[in-house]
């Protein structure tokens, strides 16, 4: 199993259990405020939590947290930016160039100040920023909340292609149509647990 989450408890409740195979896309849905973002943050070990999470059978407790988070990247719905322009966030920058047109972004945006990008442009740039670091697992929180339909479909095509390379995706979304399009398996989150639903 690529990602194995077992007995995870923390601020939103729990214990939560779920698994993710290599190349799989799992969608998590649930009522607003139930703690779906917090669940993803706990998997990435960004908030205090208890329970065991392992990658290919290797527990995250056995490695330094930054090492874990390089392999299991959490991408928030409203990403933060630490430099003035977009380019310093892209590492390696060459890899970003190839992805820009696939998400309908112009190359010149790389040298624009982050503050001049629209919310949707920032959202797509943040996805690129995470993808080019080549994590094993990508935790995506509402990845198309600020995108129009055409951009959403482009982003979904990129996600589908990422799964063919073996990357595992955990996507939180409120968009039912999107969940049906991209999910291999689905879970519904309540404060007590995650229930797998049959697609």
């Amino acid at each position: 199993m690529l990602l194995d989450v077992s007995g995870l408890t923390g601020l939103p409740g729990g214990p939560y259990h779920f698994t993710l195979a290599a190349g799989e896309c799992v969608v998590i849905s649930g009522a607003s405020g139930i703690g779906k973002s917090l669940l993803l943050r706990m998997v990435a070990d960004l908030d205090e939590n208890h329970g065991d999470v392992s990658l290919h059978g290797v527990s995250r407790a056995s490695m330094p947290a930054p090492h874990w988070r390089r392999q299991v990247i959490y991408n928030p719905a409203e990403p933060g930016w630490w430099a003035e322009q977009v380019r310093p966030h892209m590492r390696p920058a060459e890899a970003a160039l190839a992805l820009l047109p696939r998400l309908g972004l112009q190359e010149k945006l790389l040298d624009a100040p982050v503050s001049q990008l629209s919310t949707g442009e920032r959202q797509r740039m943040a996805l690129i920023r995470a993808v080019i670091r080549e994590p094993r697992v990508l935790l995506l929180d509402e990845p198309s909340s600020a995108l129009d339909e055409a951009s959403t479909l482009r982003m979904e095509a990129l996600l589908a292609q990422l799964t063919t390379t073996g990357m595992g995706l955990v996507v939180v979304t409120h968009n039912e149509a999107q969940a049906r399009r991209i999910a291999h398996r689905r879970y519904v989150m309540t404060s007590g647990c995650l229930a797998e639903i049959i697609v």
Binding site: E48, P76, P79, A126
Partner: protein, 267 residues
């Protein structure tokens, strides 16, 4: 060098300036006369008290008494760092953070000066050690206070951008580097300003005091230069240590950002 000894009468005459200010405040309803008079009385009592305590320490020439006085000064400086912060750690951690930045940096710089440049005999002579430690503590306290104030504010306001770096797998020192660098720089601006302006815009206090007390101007200038080096060194060390101790406290063993450990003074 023959020290000036002011008579109580001459101090009494100059204190009329305070009374004049208070009178003006009353006439123009500036509402500051009360605060002004209280502060003036406090100042007189505090300084005379310190004078008596120092005379006691100097005359006893006891190492432990000197150390005790220095420790009390350091504790007061560490406490003051937390007094006017926008955000701060809970009291015990705030004291510990400020103290662990202020005490070692002041100690290193003071001992360096006493054992190499000033060389009183014995090297811990209270007459040189205590005033020097006092000047350095006051300056380092400011640098530490400024650096922590801006660092804590940045951590609270720039949480998203700091966590973005952590989420991409960068370590705490890299994720907080931007805020650390800007905080240390901000803390050192006043020091650099004072150094650049020294002698042109203002005569530094110590040099003025020594000139008034009859010291040769070149000797006073050299002494002031030495003090400036010591102050800059202490401030750099203090600001740097404060921010790095703060990074350590604002992250946990899994290198998560723990901005929740800061409390706002507004609440």
């Amino acid at each position: 060098m023959n020290p000036v000894n002011l008579s109580p009468a001459s101090l009494g005459i100059t204190s009329s300036l305070i009374l004049l200010c208070a009178a003006l405040s009353l006439i123009l309803s500036l509402q500051v006369h009360r605060a002004l008079l209280i502060a003036a009385v406090r100042m007189v009592v505090q300084l005379l008290l310190v004078g008596f305590v120092l005379r006691l320490i100097f005359e006893s020439s006891n190492v432990w008494l000197t150390l005790l006085a220095a420790a009390a000064m350091a504790a007061a400086a560490s406490y003051e760092v937390g007094a006017r912060q926008e955000y701060r750690l809970p009291r015990a951690w705030q004291l510990l953070t400020a103290g662990s930045a202020i005490v070692p940096s002041t100690l290193i710089v003071t001992v360096l000066a006493l054992t190499t440049a000033l060389r009183p005999s014995p090297w811990y002579d209270a007459r040189e050690a205590l005033p020097l430690a006092g000047i350095l503590l006051g300056n380092v306290m400011n640098a530490v206070s400024l650096s922590l104030n801006s660092f804590f504010g940045m951590v609270r306001r720039e949480r998203a951008s700091i966590e973005a770096r952590l989420a991409l797998g960068e370590g705490r020192y890299v994720a907080l580097q931007g805020a650390a660098v800007r905080s240390i720089r901000m803390a050192l601006i006043p020091t650099i300003n004072v150094m650049s302006a020294a002698g042109i815009i203002t005569l530094p206090g110590i040099m003025t005091g020594q000139l008034l007390a009859g010291m040769d101007p070149i000797a006073a200038a050299k002494y002031q230069i030495l003090l400036m080096f010591l102050i800059v060194g202490g401030n750099c060390l203090g600001a740097f240590a404060a921010v790095y101790v703060a990074i350590f406290r604002l992250t946990d063993k899994r290198e998560r950002l723990r901005a929740d450990r800061l409390e706002s003074r507004a609440k």
